[in-house]
Symmetry: C2
Subunit: 360 residues, 2 copies
Amino acid sequence: MKRIVNFSAGPATLPFEVLQQVQAELLDWQGCGMSVMEMSHRDKEFMSIAQAAEADLREVAGIQANYKVLFMQGGATGQFSFIPMNLLRGKQGIDFVLTGDWGKKAAKEAARYAKVNVAASSETDKFANVPARASWKLDPGAAYVHITSNETIHGVEFAADPDTGAVPLVADMSSNILSRPFDVSKYGLIYAGAQKNIGPSGVTIVIVRDDLIGQAAANTPGIFDYKQMADNESMLNTPPCFAWYVSGLVFKWIKDNGGLKGVGERNAAKAALLYDYIDSQDFYRNPVAKADRSRMNVPFTLANPELDAEFLKGAKAAELSGLKGHRSVGGMRASLYNAMTLEGVRQLVDYMKEFARIRA
Amino acid sequence: MKRIVNFSAGPATLPFEVLQQVQAELLDWQGCGMSVMEMSHRDKEFMSIAQAAEADLREVAGIQANYKVLFMQGGATGQFSFIPMNLLRGKQGIDFVLTGDWGKKAAKEAARYAKVNVAASSETDKFANVPARASWKLDPGAAYVHITSNETIHGVEFAADPDTGAVPLVADMSSNILSRPFDVSKYGLIYAGAQKNIGPSGVTIVIVRDDLIGQAAANTPGIFDYKQMADNESMLNTPPCFAWYVSGLVFKWIKDNGGLKGVGERNAAKAALLYDYIDSQDFYRNPVAKADRSRMNVPFTLANPELDAEFLKGAKAAELSGLKGHRSVGGMRASLYNAMTLEGVRQLVDYMKEFARIRA
């Protein structure tokens, strides 16, 4: 069996112990005689998997009882539409703080359903920072304020949970959820596609304060109505069971590995190793303001972009994969999600050093 | 390792050979050093999986070039909303032919977006038949006619592909797709959640004639806009990759096992074995008109419903599972999807005979 070091931005590397458990029980989950893929979602076996996953997520993330945890079908992109459908509550406008392409996409989709106000944006700075909180032009009448807590393409991350006062804060945390301790109570709604820090693609976690649901627009598909889903424990109809199950194993793995505190410390060490090297020389460069740099996605460019293809070819030969930058920005990108090891980052830095030594 | 005989209505039993392959390559897909769950959907590895799945499905089902095949996020319930959003094309009404609860649910969701006309319904007969084609009161101005080709709860199935002339026919084939040869060209759109005859829950196949797309309503979420998805090969954003991959293995398994002709013959034999026994005695009973009986889901009742619990307990002891009827109708139900073996049905019939012998 071969295992590469996988820096893909998502779907992304998963904890090896989790994959081993999935493999071991693939034909027969804990002696029940079925694969998890074959279980009715109404069976007691799957119900126990589903409930344990939610309980572990609540424990790991410190989610208070007044928040619903939903395991929704599909990815975060669908939620770009379903959040306005559910959360406008008769209001007209939504405030967006834009720090990258994903926030722009979310705003574009929201504009189908609401008046979008760009309260702040770092687009003129090529999304190389998070606009200072004091500069945000918020509308006190907005239904909510939307941020993207980590932008995977530009490698920009909110260093802390911002405060938006009485207007609910909504965060797309797809690419940094569960990567460090965070304060759920600062948010009205948090959503995250699973395929970075949680599990396989096809399930999206929505954590929503219970006073915000129950006023979905009439055109909201029932299966994406948060109140209906909350009332049916995310099983209004068949959920993405297998993705839910693997997600649950990942939550347990986090619990068993120091919780979010432990995860956060390891992620900080991994990111520091890479950024410190990048900042120590001129062959590679990261454009993001230091305080706003992502610990999850580290984009970097080579001083001479003509060497990009050779860099990637050599990386592949060294079994370091997924390093090509997003097609919209070019260059390189190393994604360092929870399941990436410090040793993996060390291998990358060693490769970068050697490549620079030969080609500089 | 234990394996039970799993008669669940869905998620449901999968071909054992498919599960074995998934298990074998779970940590390292074909020597690439990653699990399929860890692959970027833009990687050449996943692209090859995705394209092979579509090609095999097209070959197995005989899908013509003027049809798009989409691998959509989520389940069929979401499509209850997304089909009207995509297919109204400026028209006002939709015709529904109701043969069970799933058709009713589809109509209820469609009513959020369009005028619903019930062109025919067997509800007054407790959904124990398919209304004769001649009795359907179709509206020639309807955007489309919707049927549920197999109703999992009531065990009612269209014996043949109906003809609706110039008005496009839309079919929810979630529970009988790929169970026998069928004529795609009779349909404007076919949709099916994967978790019965295709793969794990979390992906839904949409097969749509290309002249019907490109006129989605303005409020259609981009990720559920068929034209946008078709233009992006179902990867407008991250698809449910792992479910897509397992589905592809199932399509290959069908190809390797006689195609739809072979599958159809085996399904006919399995259903005949069970129905012939039920019709041969008075202890068990199936209420559906013979011509309209489902080969996929066989509901049956015991003459004395007080014995239901004991029947289920004994079945469980004999490692026959998933036989409890849907909570809305009670009694029993045996689902005989493609992956159910003739031997499995034989074991069920033997158990039923023995139970009747002791308790009659």
